[in-house]
Symmetry: D2
Subunit: 377 residues, 4 copies
């Protein structure tokens, strides 16, 4: 379904060529200052056409709040938001009527629905993420007010060029501790804070762009100042809902948090994060953070960090040998210019989804704290 | 919460030292043959104490069906199942009353609940997975009847010893195409089908066991004969619910499917899976399967394969420097003998969770197929 | 929250004075013909200002489909729909800033949210029901295609003037068997098919209108051609979800189905509906229908009929002694002209909600039928 | 499905002749004193065989807590509870294999599931309510601690004998204000606090018992000290979830709250509840309470009161002319002795369901209060 969340819930609508795309955000706290100016920045960061590294289409993507605010304050009622699609005529994509595009959703859509939108990617289009990003901006504003939560994502690999994401690396941990969204954006459209690999990443993308090809990458994200106690011990572990959120993004192939896949080779004696008493916060903290801020499914107040793998974009500007819907071998012609790497644009989308997870889990946990406080009186 | 699924739903209860652990499975089709004999095998595969590689505790774990069947046939009503805890007195674990065990859920539980079970891991204990495995066995029986679905998981890495999981490797794809559960079990408690690394894995575990340490690993799983069309295009993409399921398992740190993290470096021109007409099935198939059986969030009928990272077990048989709950530095003494690697035991648990995801998505998709068939008449 | 349904789900947004009100309808079958022309009729029936019996405000309420259709056919993706609010400036209702209006949601909103929309009823405004009616029209179209389902609601009482709703009355059962929506509308704005009380009802409304007062009433609804087997035996009994839907409508105070409250005095020997073999349908039917088409929470194929009580509208055109927010006694002045009875306008809203319940339950049941067919092969 | 609630959730299992019936209660606050002694009293009040007015079967119904508590305190983890079925052999009900019992769930079950339990009512059996009552007792304990919530239900009509339930009656309102559970029980098995009709009710039941017939009735319930602000303005209005809960009980035919169906004839000028400043509580209260404690879907702190209609029991001790499953006319013989009126036994079941609704809504509202407090700082 098109909804995500229990007490803070987003529902999205829209595909690439309909009248508008948008969302309803339910469970937003009342009395919070909110205007389009709070939502637009992340939408603009998500927008394609910002550099020669990404697709030159220019979608203006201005958000319009429909409901749920009055005089710049939220009412506690659902926030309806929409972004008009500038060109909402179904294109005349005659060839894609013959061919299911390889590794797109065309074939599976036809199988599932017996129908697909005549052009573009329908619901699996990246355009659907506009609703998520708009909702995420609202969630993020709330989280900042609630606990000073900071969420910063960045590109950590492009193709074979990768930052050192080894959880034991002090440099990596330092970046997680300090990186800001402003610093990420200052690195330009590549959005990689590591100067030692940044130019190589740009070259990697340019190489594939010039080859009429595409290349994947990894986005890493850190959450600082996350409250202790979010997440549930069983099916709704914090990392489980986070993984759900991330793998619901188009083009994702993997998720790891804390020490991740590499961490499976670190023995328990080292991987276990020892506790110490932190004088500043007055509570227990850990000297290392292989756990990635979550233990037993519940946040422990340390940095939450995780990485998401994005595959090479399926749309490429070269011919591909494949088959038609009715099973004839053929060659799908190249068409137009396309984004050689979607990974940098995924940065604000990843931030938005983690904000949605956090806002929902925070609301749930607050009811748990209440119920606990009652019975222990 | 303790429930998972929409139309095929499991709810679990129980922790390590209460009277029993178990589950309620809701949405089981009526008229299906089902007795304890269908459920016990996977519970027995999950059971610890099966070899010198795992913990010597012997929990007998006999399942008792409470409801939902009559004369060996399901009624369509919820299946209640329970497994008694043999020793349900809370242990006298005086030291763990002083220390939150590093990288266990002790600290986060106390923060969240203000309480924790006096011993063992409470709900984050691996014992909670009994309910999941029992429910998964029911789901798997249904899937086998519905589409001949085959689910086989195996150990693909232990510590630094790893099978070749490169998605481009023909050997890896061959294993995915052919491996059976019987073959996995014939490899002994290590549950690794790759003879070239199996003994090294055993040695790796023995090494850490002898060092009173623990080591992590990766479980890889393949689903064959999955129907086309499962999963939804947006928040409930097939891989998103699968990731949710896997990261809800204790000790998991990552999930990847299809080409996964490695696949981010494979350019689109190669990563795109070309279609061809398959004469046997009469439908389009793909010549490669970097997509891992899912495109646009929806299954395409190819093998679904994915890997799950399990961290090194937090319980180790050596002293650890850490802090007490009230912030004093100290050393948490070693105690008892523990499982040096939980990864091999995770094999049936991973299989169970994927069965639960599939059964639920299959039921949902069948209602979609109905609704589509109606309006297109 | 603002969502209703599991597999066929509506999410609404909007209050009386924001930019627009609308909804997202998720789970709509693909390939169904759908344009605004399918949705507008029920919205127009819901619209106020249709006669001197209702409020003279004229809201045009033209619906605009935003997404989910292409070339007049549904895509299987969410249908976004919106209706602009013509006057979306918050009014200058100075008095209602001082007084919580008696039996409105003002006081409870302020208590719950600490905020309320400056004018009108916010989310408890009848204007919120626009999203439900638009979604209900989509559901109804599907139900008609799926099973020829007919849904007809009508006014059965206004104040003390009531049709005979005794379940033992042959006249009442005859109306339930035959009444059409066209016949209801032909009775004029009162929407009561019983000529013997219709004029008295109109007089009753006129009496209260002339007294600057308001009066409540009852809407009765029948569903014909409902498939057998909808609903679940326990918490999601068909009548339970139906009651949920009806009591979620503004101004409702009660719900009864089948023999209802009166039926509690009919002894079992008479109340039990005997079975007989029906040659036309080839299945068992019942000679009476005190059950109201549902037995054990599951539809049996007989007519579903139920009634919903609507209280007298809280907005009246006379002064009311009450207290200000800060606790001072005072008199809330009358203001404007208001609808003396909302009951007739509730007719299409009741129809819409029952359609939403039915569409969702039908999709759920179809997955049950599939699972049963599989295992019994 | 067999689950109810969002943050405080019960899932039940079991039918009349399986090994046990029971439930899992999820979301119970940690640190609360809880033993079987807290749960047993309501189970015992629910138990049949307590007087000559009800069925003489004696089910002992001792509850056993399986999980979620330690040393008499809740852990915050799910509470598993079970009650053994004493006789869990499927009976040899040969006749009910031929006949769908009129107004039972036999026919609809067979249609829906293609199977039914060989005897008794399966999931539609009143025995399923054991899980609800056990869960409700836990909820009620929490509510008492949280706000001193008092829930008292009683029989308000049997057949044609009825208490005065007119919302304008001062006597009725006085009963609602003062009645205690102890006073209800002191009236004997009839559970009616109104001495003027009590004996007539008993006679009514005896009359139908002696006629081998059954008779229905109404249970009225009041909730005192309910916190302000529970419920949501749209689909999850407090009264909507309450109606859902009540109509999910076996044998129910209707629900009304506050002024109910009678209130539709009270004009707005009288029905509107004027506010006044209450010195004791320091907040606004209303001089009348036609609203029944809920306005705009949200509780206002006044008494919540509502009534639930229970039909005459379908099981009667006399012959009934009906048809066999395969469509032949016939007479279903009488068998055994049966409860002539289930209404008095429904009293604790109604109390349990309202407690489940309240506990869930209270947890949800507490997260809303938190989020509001954050942003308005």
């Amino acid at each position: 379904m098109s909804s995500f969340g229990t007490l803070f819930r987003v529902t999205t609508y829209g595909e690439s060529h309909c009248k508008s795309v948008g969302c309803i955000v339910d469970g937003v706290p009342p009395g919070m200052q909110l205007t389009e100016a709070d939502v637009q920045p992340q939408l603009s960061r998500r927008r394609p056409g910002q550099s020669k590294l990404s697709t030159p289409r220019n979608e203006k993507d201005q958000v319009h709040i429909q409901s749920g605010t009055e005089n710049g304050l939220t009412l506690g009622s659902p926030i309806g938001m929409l972004v008009a699609n500038e060109d909402h005529r179904p294109h005349d994509y005659s060839e894609t009527d013959l061919y299911p595009r390889p590794s797109h959703a065309d074939y599976t859509y036809i199988q599932k629905y017996g129908a697909k939108s005549a052009s573009g990617g329908g619901r699996s289009s990246a355009r659907e993420t506009i609703g998520r990003v708009a909702a995420g901006a609202v969630a993020e504003k709330f989280l900042k007010l609630a606990n000073g939560v900071e969420i910063v994502a960045f590109v950590s690999s492009i193709g074979k060029v990768s930052m050192d994401r080894n959880p034991e690396s002090p440099e990596f941990q330092k970046i997680l501790n300090t990186i800001t969204r402003e610093e990420v954006d200052e690195t330009g459209p590549i959005r990689c804070p590591d100067a030692s690999v940044r130019d190589l990443m740009v070259k990697e993308i340019e190489h594939y762009r010039d080859s009429k090809d595409s290349i994947g990458g990894v986005v890493t994200c850190v959450v600082r100042n996350c409250p202790v106690g979010l997440g549930e011990p069983c099916f709704d572990k914090f990392e489980a809902t986070l993984a759900h959120a991330m793998l619901s993004l188009p083009a994702t192939k993997g998720f790891e948090f804390g020490s991740g896949f590499l961490g499976t080779a670190i023995p328990g004696s080292k991987h276990n994060d020892p506790f110490y008493h932190d004088e500043t916060t007055g509570r227990l903290r850990t000297t290392t953070n292989f756990s990635g801020g979550v233990q037993g499914g519940i946040t422990n107040g340390e940095n939450i960090y995780f990485s998401v793998a994005f595959k090479s974009a399926a749309t490429i500007s070269q011919e591909q040998s494949t088959a038609t819907y009715d099973g004839k071998d053929g060659v799908l012609a190249a068409r137009g210019r396309h984004d050689p790497s979607v990974t940098p644009r995924a940065v604000p989308i990843v931030e938005s989804m983690v904000a949605l997870v956090l806002a929902d889990q925070l609301l749930i946990q607050k009811s748990r704290e209440f119920s606990r406080s009652i019975v222990s009186k």
